[in-house]
Symmetry: C2
Subunit: 427 residues, 2 copies
C-alpha cells in the first residue's frame, strides 16, 4: 500500500509531494505521480512526527490529581493512586495518552512505568511507535554497602524487565522497541544498575534512566558515594551510547562533558521540572557545545499536565533564555531538532526526519489559522505559536492514524470514557 501526500509545504518553505511505500518515505519531490492513496496537504506544513523521549503513559490517569503542592505531598498522592492501578487501569491511561499524543503530532514516545503489558497493548492498538521499558526499583543499596537492600525484589524486577523485553521487543509490526529501565540511582542498588547495563548490552536495546532531577538526589549521591550522579553511574558502567538520561537539571559542566564523551543522550523535561519546582535548568547550551545528543520529553501528565510536544518545545526554548538571560540560546532549530531527530537518535530509531529512506512518521500542521499567521518564519510559527488544534493529520509507519483531526486508529469517545471511569476509581 502506497500513500502520496500532495502539495505539502516543507519547513524550507518549498512545496513538495511525499511518497510513502510500506512504512518508508521513498520519495520527496515537487511533483510525484504514483498509484497510491492521496492526501491533500494544501496549506499544510509537513514535519516529522514528534518523538517524546521521556514520559509515563499510564500516569495520564492522574492528570490534575494534586496541584500546587510541594514535591513530598505530590508524591504521596501519586503513590497512593498508583497503588490502586493494575494492568487494566494502566492500559486505559496509556490509550488516553496515545490518543492525546496522536492529536498533538507525536508519533513515538518512550515510556518507563509498571504493568507495561497494558502500555504495550495500548500502543499496539493505537498505531503508535514506542520505546517501552519496565521501570525497575529495588529500594537501593543496603546501608553502607553496595549490595541490594532487597535482593529478592531485585531479582524479581530484573525478571519482569527481561520478560517484558522477550515478550514485546520488535512487536506491533516493529513499532515497539523495548528498553531496560532502571528507575534512578536513588531507587536502584548498584548491582541492579550493573545488571541493567548488562541486559541493555545483551539485547542491544536502550537503557532509560532518570538522572539528576532533584537537588536531593545530588546531595544524597555525594554523601553516599562521594561522587556526583553522572560519575557514580559511570563507575557502575551504565553510561553508553544506548543510555538515555531523563531530566539532567542539576548536572555540572564536567558531568555534561562525561556524559557526552560516553555517547549518552539527554531527555529534557522542562515543563515537569518547572511544575515540580525542581529548580535546576538542564544545561542545554553546554550539552550542544559538547555535541551531546539532546531530546525532549513531556514527563508524565501528572507533572506537566499536557503531552503536547509543541508546548514542550516552547517551554524548553523560553526556559533556556530565561535562565541564561540570553535570548540567543534555546534556538527554534535546536528545540525542534531535540523534539524530533534527537529523540530518534537517542533510541536508535530510523524516524524523526522528513527524508527519503526514513520511517514515514509524519505530522501535517494547518497553517491557515489566525495563530499561525502571518508566515514570516514557518519554524517560528511551529515552535512558538502552534497548539495541538493546528495538527491536522498524522501518519505513523505509513499508516494514516489521524485525518483532519479525526483519529482513525482509535475510538476517541470510548478511550476517553474508559479512562474517566478508571481514573474515578483511584481515590
Amino acid at each position: 500500500m502506497a500513500l502520496l501526500i500532495k502539495g505539502a509545504t516543507l519547513l524550507s518553505g518549498k512545496k513538495s509531494d511525499i511518497l510513502i511505500e510500506g512504512n518508508i518515505i521513498t520519495k520527496i519531490a515537487p511533483s510525484i505521480s504514483a498509484s497510491a492513496d492521496k492526501i491533500d496537504a494544501k496549506g499544510k506544513l509537513a514535519i516529522p512526527g514528534f518523538v517524546n523521549s521521556h514520559m509515563h503513559a499510564g500516569m495520564t490517569l492522574l492528570r490534575g490529581i494534586c496541584e500546587d503542592r510541594k514535591l513530598s505531598d505530590w508524591l504521596s498522592h501519586v503513590w497512593k493512586a498508583e497503588g490502586k492501578m493494575a494492568e487494566k487501569q494502566i492500559g486505559a491511561g496509556s490509550a488516553l495518552s496515545c490518543l492525546e499524543m496522536i492529536k498533538s503530532g507525536t508519533t513515538c514516545f518512550s515510556d518507563m512505568y509498571f504493568h507495561m503489558d497494558g502500555v504495550a497493548s495500548a500502543v499496539e492498538k493505537s498505531g503508535m511507535r514506542a520505546v517501552l521499558g519496565y521501570g525497575m526499583i529495588d529500594g537501593g543499596n543496603r546501608k553502607g554497602t553496595r549490595e541490594s537492600a532487597d535482593e529478592k525484589k531485585m531479582e524479581k524486577e530484573l525478571t519482569i524487565g527481561e520478560r517484558f523485553v522477550k515478550d514485546w521487543h520488535g512487536k506491533a509490526d516493529g513499532r515497539i522497541t523495548c528498553s531496560i529501565a532502571p528507575h534512578a540511582l536513588y531507587t536502584c542498588s548498584a548491582p541492579l544498575l550493573e545488571r541493567s547495563a548488562a541486559l541493555s548490552e545483551k539485547y542491544k536495546i536502550p537503557l532509560h534512566i532518570h538522572l539528576s532531577e532533584t537537588r536531593r538526589e545530588v546531595f544524597d549521591c555525594l554523601s553516599e558515594n562521594g561522587k556526583r550522579p553522572a560519575y557514580h553511574l559511570d563507575s557502575l558502567g551504565i553510561l553508553s551510547p544506548r543510555t538515555v538520561a531523563a531530566h539532567c537539571v542539576w548536572l555540572t559542566k564536567e558531568e555534561v562533558r562525561l556524559l557526552a564523551s560516553r555517547g549518552v543522550s539527554s531527555s529534557l523535561c522542562p515543563v515537569s521540572n518547572m511544575k515540580l519546582a525542581s529548580g535546576g535548568v538542564a544545561p542545554m547550551p553546554e550539552m550542544l557545545g559538547f555535541r551531546m545528543n539532546v531530546s525532549l520529553g513531556t514527563d508524565g501528565a501528572a507533572s506537566n499536565n499536557s503531552l503536547s510536544m509543541l508546548e514542550t518545545m516552547k517551554f524548553c526554548s523560553l526556559l533556556q533564555k530565561n535562565a541564561r538571560w540570553d535570548a540567543t540560546v534555546g534556538k527554534e532549530e535546536e528545540v525542534f531538532s531535540a523534539a524530533t531527530a534527537g529523540g530518534a537518535k537517542a533510541y536508535g530509531l530510523n524516524c524523526g526526519e522528513l527524508a527519503e529512506g526514513k520511517l514515514a512518521d509524519i505530522a501535517l500542521i494547518g497553517m491557515r489559522s489566525a495563530n499561525m499567521s502571518p508566515r514570516h518564519d514557518l519554524l517560528s510559527n511551529l515552535v512558538f505559536s502552534a497548539h495541538e488544534g493546528n495538527v491536522a493529520d498524522c501518519i505513523i509507519g505509513g499508516r494514516l492514524v489521524m485525518e483532519n483531526r479525526r483519529v482513525l486508529s482509535m475510538d476517541e469517545e470510548k478511550v476517553i470514557e474508559e479512562a474517566q471511569k478508571a481514573a474515578e476509581k483511584l481515590y
Copy 2:
C-alpha cells in the same frame, strides 16, 4: 434579545443554566426557562472570558519576524518594520489579533500602540471589548533636566492621545474604553508623565504604562533620578488605582509595597519576559501578599508569539514555581483570577467573573477531549492542560461571536489573507 446557555458545567463542578439579557448575565441557576436563543453547553465548562491586560494588537503582523536574537537586534527589526506600518496595516494586524483572541477565549484586551484608530475600528467590527490607548513617546527628558527633550513632540503626542480618547471612549456599544498610555519612564519626559496622570484624572480613565521590564531601565533610572522606577513614577504623581503597570519584573519588595499602597495594578507578561530574556521574574507572591491587584497579559505577538491566555496562565504559574523553587506559588486559582477578574479590576470593567449582574463575556470550553481527561480538577485542566482548540464558544457583551469554533463576527479567511498581505509588505 436574550440568550440562554443550557447545561454548562461551572468550575465548581456544578451544572447550571446561564441567562443573558442584553449584555448582562441576569441569572445563573440549575434550570432556567426563558424565551431566548439557546446554546447547548453539555460537556462544556463555562468560564468568564479572559482579559488580556497588556498587548499590542497591530504587532501580530510581526509574529516570527526576528527569533533567538538579542534584544537590540530584535528591537531594530521591529522598529524597521513598524516604520512601514500605517493605519491600514495596524488595522489588518489588529483584526488578526482579535480573531486569534476570540478563538482562544479572550473577550477583552488592553492595547497600547500607534495608529490606534485602526485598532479601534478592528475592535468595533470584531465584537471584542477593549481598553485602548495611544502609546505616547517624546524621547524622555532633556539631558540633566526634567523638561521634555522634544517639547513639540510631547505636545503632539498628548494631542493625539487626548483626541483618541475623545473619538473613541465609550464607543462600539460601550465595548471600547480608552486609556492614557505614556509608553515608559525611559521614553517619556517627566512633564509628559505628569500630564498623562492629569489626563487620566480628567477623563477618569486608566493609565497604562510599561514598568521595570529590563535591568537597563532600572539602572538608567537609578543613575538619572537617584531612585528606582516605582519611586520615580510616584514622585511624578502617576501612581493611582487607575494605573496599570506592565511587566514589573525587576521590582524590589519595597517597590511592590509602594505600588500596592497606591492601588496600582500589575500586568504580568511571563511569556514575553522569558522570550526576550528579560531575566527578572515578577514578584507575584509579594504582590498578592500586599494585596496588589495582579493581571496577566501576553504582550505583543512579536515577543510571545501567541495571544493565548491559556498558555500565558500556564507559563505564569510554572515560571513562579521555577523561580522560587517552590511548587506552592503561582497556584492555579491565582493565575486564573489574574487572567480574568484581575484584568477587569485593573481597568475598572464589570467583566471577568461569571456572576449575576456582570457583563456577559463568557467562554465555553470543551471538556470531552483527550487532553482534558480525566476530570479530577476542572481548574487544573483549564490552567495546565487546555489549549486554544478546546475553546468552543465565545460570547461578548451578550453576543455569540464564536459557535463551535466558527467565528460569527468576522470573516476568518479574509482577515487572515489581509494580514498576510499586509505583513509581506513590511520587509
